[in-house]
Structures are given as C-alpha cells and as structure tokens.
C-alpha cells in the first residue's frame, strides 16, 4: 500500500477531524463550539483540495471551494447576523450528560462506526476510502450525539452541521464525481439550515425568553401529560 503525499495528508486531516469532533463534545463555551466547527470545515475543505489534486478531479476542487464559502464564511456570518453576541458568550453549565461521560460515549460511537464500516472498507483497496468512510460515519454519530446531549440551541444546530461535515468527509472519498449541481444544492441547503434554525432560535428567544431547549417541554405524549 503505497501512499502519495496528498493522500497521506488527507489521513492527517482525518485524524484532526475526529479530534475536532471530540473537541465539540468537550467544549463548554458556545463560542468554542462554533470555532471548532469552523476548524473542522476548514479541514474538510483541505481534505477535498488534497484529493482533488491527487485525483485531478474538478468536482473536488469545486466542492472544496463550496465548503469554504458555505461553511467557513457563510454560516458563521449568518449566525452572527441572526443572533446577538450574548448567545456566543454563553457557557453551558446544564448539560444532560457531563463531559467525561460524553467523551466516553463519543468514543463508543467511534468504535461503532469502525465496526459498521469494517466489512465495507475491507472490500476496497483505496487507502483514502479506508480512512474516510469510518471517520465520516464517526463524525455523523458524534454530531448526532451532541445534538441529543446539548441543551443550548446553537450547539445543537452546530451538531447538525457537524453531522453534515461527517457525511461529506465520507463523500469526498466515495462519491467524488457527484454532479456539481447536487454539490451546490447541498451546500446551499446547509446554509439554509443555519438560516432557518437561526431564525427559529431568535423567535424562540423573543417569545419564550430562553434558548435552553430543555425549557421546551410543554408538549408531551398523552401518557405522561
């Protein structure tokens, strides 16, 4: 298994993407979570540029550029425009699960991802796919977990966006020839998620007066009502 330098650097960013996923779980400050998300998006773009270079793929160059524009520039901008600075200075004290346990669970999810992807990865000899597929799935699962464990609106939103990052990290390896229009549409969709959820968060804050999603529990199943 000989590895070219861009592919080797791609595996490096795979490791860092996993780290940033852990960091998003471990960070208390809303601001910090957002920063790690941006860092993760930069790594994702770097990864797709590297693979674009090594595979001479126009699609991946485009995808990297789209990622930079949508996730590194547009989403933080949109979120800052929509929500007052007070949101980002917030510290999240009341989490559903404390941070060491969260990290342990994130670890378990990584193991699950490796297990699930193990048989599939075994069918291919492409080193990039072998690295990206499990770590992409781990990114998705950890993002989903932080969505469940977080209590603040913005970290929950960033959990969703981190899941997208995970899916794309797997995508750059296995589906590099996706139609450009689809890539564009997906990127637009990601920004739209930020806009819609941001708007919703603003409305919730104006009406309910808190952005702790835990406060939203009036509607229940009939059994417990």
């Amino acid at each position: 298994m000989s590895t070219s330098i861009p592919d080797a650097l791609n595996t490096l960013s795979a490791g860092l993407i996993l780290i940033s996923a852990f960091a998003m779980v471990a960070t208390r400050q809303v601001q910090g979570v957002l920063r790690f998300f941006v860092a993760q998006s930069v790594l994702l773009a770097a990864s797709s540029f590297l693979l674009a270079y090594s595979r001479a793929s126009v699609h991946l160059w485009a995808l990297g550029a789209i990622t930079i524009v949508a996730k590194v520039l547009a989403i933080p901008w949109v979120l800052r425009r929509l929500l007052p600075a007070e949101f980002y200075e917030r510290r999240e004290i009341a989490q559903a699960v404390n941070i060491p346990t969260s990290l342990l669970l994130a670890l378990v999810l990584t193991i699950v991802a490796e297990f699930l992807m193990g048989p599939i990865v075994a069918t291919t000899h492409d080193p990039v796919i072998r690295v990206n597929l499990p770590i992409g799935l781990a990114g998705i699962l950890i993002g989903a977990y932080s969505l469940v464990a977080r209590r603040e609106a913005i970290p929950q939103l960033i959990g969703i966006l981190a899941m997208e990052n995970g899916a794309f990290f797997a995508g750059v390896a296995i589906a590099p020839e996706l139609p450009i229009i689809a890539e564009l549409a997906v990127a637009m969709d990601v920004v739209l998620i930020a806009v819609v959820v941001g708007l919703l968060t603003r409305n919730i804050r104006e009406t309910v007066g808190t952005t702790e999603a835990a406060g939203l529990d009036e509607l229940k199943e009939e059994a417990t009502a």
Partner: protein
C-alpha cells in the same frame, strides 16, 4: 416541459407573493398557482397512463406511474389547502405577515413537487431537505411558545436525519458508479444495476436512508415530532404536512426499497414489515389516550405510514397495489380530516377533545363532517381506506404472512375503536351551556365539501384512469 412548468409555477408564485405591491394578493396568487399545478399534474398523469413514462429532461426530470401519482396527490392537497388557508389565515393572524406565510407555502410546494419529478437521487435528497426546512418555519408561524417548541422539535429531529440519509446516498452512488463504470445515476438505472451491486453495501445504504427519511415521514420510534407539529401548525399546513409531507419522504424510501428488492441477495422485506407493524402498534395505543383532536389525526398518520411500509415490505404485486392505494386514500382523507379539524377550531377555539360535546347541535355542518371524515380515516366501509386496507390484508394472506395479517388486523381495529370512541364523545351528547361559536369562512366550508367528494366517491367507484395510474405506480415498487 410540463414537468418543468410544474416546478416553475410555485417558485414564480413565491416570488410574486413576496413582491411588496402584490403581497395583498398573496393568497389569490397561491390558489391560482397551486390549481394550475394540479391541472398540469393531471395532464402529466394522463400522459404517463398513455406512454407509461414522461421525460422532460433525460436523467434529470422524469415521471413514471409512481411519480405521477405523487404529483397529483401533492398538488391536489396543496390546491385545496391554499383555498382553505384563504379563509382560515384571516383569523387571528396579522394581515401584514401573511405574505411571509404564503411565500413559505409556495416554496414548500416547490420542494414537495420536486421530489417525485426528479430522477437523480442526490437531487431528491436535496429536495426532501428543502421540504423540511420550509415546513419548519410554517409550523412555527403562529409564534406562540407551544408552536415554537413544536417547530424546534420538528426541526431537530427531522434535520438530524438528513446527514444520515446523505451518507446513504453517497454509498449508493459509490456502489452504483463502481458497478456500472460511471453511468449517470437515476432511479431507473439503479433498479437495472441492483442485481450486480454489492448487497451488503446496498443494505447499509438503505438502512441509513431509512433511518434518515423514516424520521421525516414519522415512522415510529422517530415519530415524536409529528403530533406536536401537527397540533401546533396552522391547520392548512397540517393538512399538507399530514397528507403529503409524510408520504413524500416515504416515497423516496419506497423507491429505494424497490432498488434493494431488485437485488436478490439483499433481503430487507421482513424488516420493513416488522418496523411497519411497530409504527402501527405504537400509534394505535397512543390513539387511545390522546386528548387533542388534531393530535388524534396526527397519530392516525403514523398508523397509516406503518401500514404502507408493512404492505411494501410484503413485496408482492397485490400488496404493492394496496400500498399505493393507501398512499392515495391517506392523502385525500387525512387532508379532509384536518380541514374539518380546522373548521372546528375556528368554531370552538379549543383543541381539547374533553371540552367538545354535542358538536352536532352546535354546528351540524362540522359535526357531520367530523363524523364522516373520522369514519373514513379509521377505515370504515364503504370509504376508500377500508378498501385499500382490505386489499393489503388479503395480499398478506396470499403471500403467506398470516401472523402479520392477524397482528395488523387487530391493531387496525384498536385504532378504529379508539378514534371512533373519541369522535363519538365529541359529536353526540349535549353541548355545554355556554359555547362561543365562531364563524366559518365560506372558503373553509367550500374546501370541506370539495375534499369530501373524492373521499366519498373513491369508496364506491374507482374510475379507470385512476385505477390504471395506481397499477402503473404499483409496478414501480418492484413487488413480484
């Protein structure tokens, strides 16, 4: 070209209804555009019945029997709901904000219509995602704390499914590309190539898409957003959400299922049956203890999604026919139910089942409509849902799934009893002494009448074109 026109119309309407001088006429614009979509969709289905396939732009916009059926259903519900909204939204909403509602509504219409007319699966994913995003803001439109809570749960649970499904689509794309050597990916092409694709990869990608989109179509155990969203959203939106917003992601799951079924090594049918039964079971028991009549109809949606999934899991031609008829009947009946619920809400201004009594005496019109629609949605003869559920059960017996049929039958009966006992309490008896009755706008009254016509008719007589369309649609599900 018609297909592209169907997609262009709602976009145009969304644009027009947000231009400042035209904002006042937003509801008229929406009614016109959705009715035009309905006409075009009927035209497309006529074409499909004739040629079995309409191609607007090869590889991008194509329609077969299943897509045509979905197009007709979606545009039918959208058109009637926009008529209903015309009267409904004038009550209790600032006139200045209505254009925002209609703009969103038209964008939602665009996304809903795009899903069945697109042939490229990855774009279908985008369209499904857009559906969710545009409906989130509609659910929270009332801006009360309950509505926003519902919108938040709805957003988080359903958007969370999207990246999971996206990975599924990427995996599908990967295996398709490596099997066919780089061919353009379409639903049709996928079915052709399915037999030679790697079955474990196919199964995994189906699993991911099922998890992701199952949440969007309200299948248990990812259904928890559904009753909240459906009880809190403005009623015309509920009709769209419950009638077609749930079946459109399910349509994608069924398409994908037909691809997986075309691969002999990947057996998932039995799993679909089990998961479908779980949804039906959970919904049936929650129906017993429901306290809000809009939530009651919402749980019945979960039940119907489960029935459709179970039928599709049986994977025989007869069961597939039952499944597509159930999609059709669910859409027309459930939207009627929500129009009725909206009318009741306007008249009684309460959503609680316990505080509604003697509706017949308060308002004979809505009382009668509630009785009719509930009988229809619960599956009493001679309504169409009875017919499609019966055909699913008999198809199950033919396919040898005796236990499944027995369980499904029992659960349907439980749901039936639960719904009708609630409705019975609301419709019959003496009303409380001091009931403040609101006025029902003419457009709402009209919608209830118009929506009731197909519900009554299709139970007695299915016209030949609709029958043909259903058969064409059932073929696409790939049952043997």
């Amino acid at each position: 070209m018609t297909l592209i026109a169907i997609l262009a119309l709602p976009l145009l309407a969304a644009l027009l209804s947000s231009i400042r001088p035209l904002r006042l006429y937003a509801s008229a614009i929406t009614i016109v555009s959705t009715s035009a979509c309905l006409a075009l969709a009927v035209y497309v289905s006529a074409q499909v019945i004739e040629h079995s396939r309409v191609v607007a732009l090869p590889g991008w916009f194509e329609a077969d029997g299943l897509s045509a059926l979905m197009l007709v259903l979606v545009s039918f519900v959208l058109a009637l709901a926009s008529v209903f909204a015309h009267g409904y939204m004038q009550h209790g909403h600032e006139a200045g904000r209505l254009w925002w509602f209609y703009g969103n509504y038209n964008l939602l219409a665009f996304a809903l219509l795009a899903v069945p007319s697109l042939a490229e699966p990855n774009l279908v994913w985008v369209a499904v995602e857009l559906i969710t995003l545009f409906s989130v803001l509609l659910v929270g439109f009332d801006n009360t704390s309950n509505a926003l809570e519902a919108a938040w749960k709805f957003a988080v649970l359903t958007i969370m499914g999207a990246p999971i499904a996206l990975l599924g689509f990427f995996l599908l794309f990967w295996t398709y590309r490596s099997t066919t050597g780089g061919a353009w990916e379409t639903w049709e092409g996928l079915r052709m190539a399915a037999a030679s694709m790697d079955p474990s990869l196919l199964k995994l990608s189906f699993l991911l898409v099922f998890v992701g989109f199952g949440a969007k179509s309200g299948l248990a155990p990812m259904h928890t957003w559904l009753p909240d969203a459906h009880s809190q959203a403005p009623t015309p939106v509920c009709a769209v959400l419950s009638g077609v917003k749930t079946t459109v992601p399910l349509y994608v799951v069924l398409r994908f299922l037909s691809v997986v079924l075309a691969s002999p090594a990947a057996r998932v049918g039995n799993w679909m049956i089990v998961l479908g039964l779980v949804s039906v079971g959970i919904a049936a028991f929650l129906l017993i203890q429901v306290r809000d009549y809009k939530r009651m109809f919402a749980f019945s949606t979960v039940e119907h999604m489960g029935i459709i999934l179970t039928a599709a899991g049986m994977a025989t031609q007869a069961a597939d026919f039952g499944a597509v008829s159930q999609i059709l009947n669910h859409a027309i009946t459930k939207s009627l139910c929500f129009y009725v619920a909206g009318a009741m809400l306007l008249i009684l201004s309460t959503r609680e089942i316990a505080s509604v009594r003697g509706l017949f005496r308060v308002s004979p019109f809505s009382g009668g409509a509630l009785l009719l629609s509930s009988l229809a949605i619960a599956g009493a003869p001679p309504f169409p849902i009875f017919l499609s559920e019966l055909s699913i059960l008999s198809a199950g017996v033919q396919a040898g799934h005796k236990v499944v049929v027995a369980v499904l039958g029992v659960l349907i009966v439980i749901a039936f009893v639960a719904i009708l006992s609630h409705v019975n309490r609301m419709v019959m008896g003496k009303p409380a002494a001091h009931v403040s009755t609101g006025v029902l706008p003419a457009s709402c009254r009209f919608t209830v009448w118009a929506a009731a016509v197909p519900v009554v008719l299709l139970g007695v007589y299915v016209p030949a074109p609709i029958h043909n369309l259903l058969q064409l649609a059932a073929q696409q599900l790939g049952g043997r």
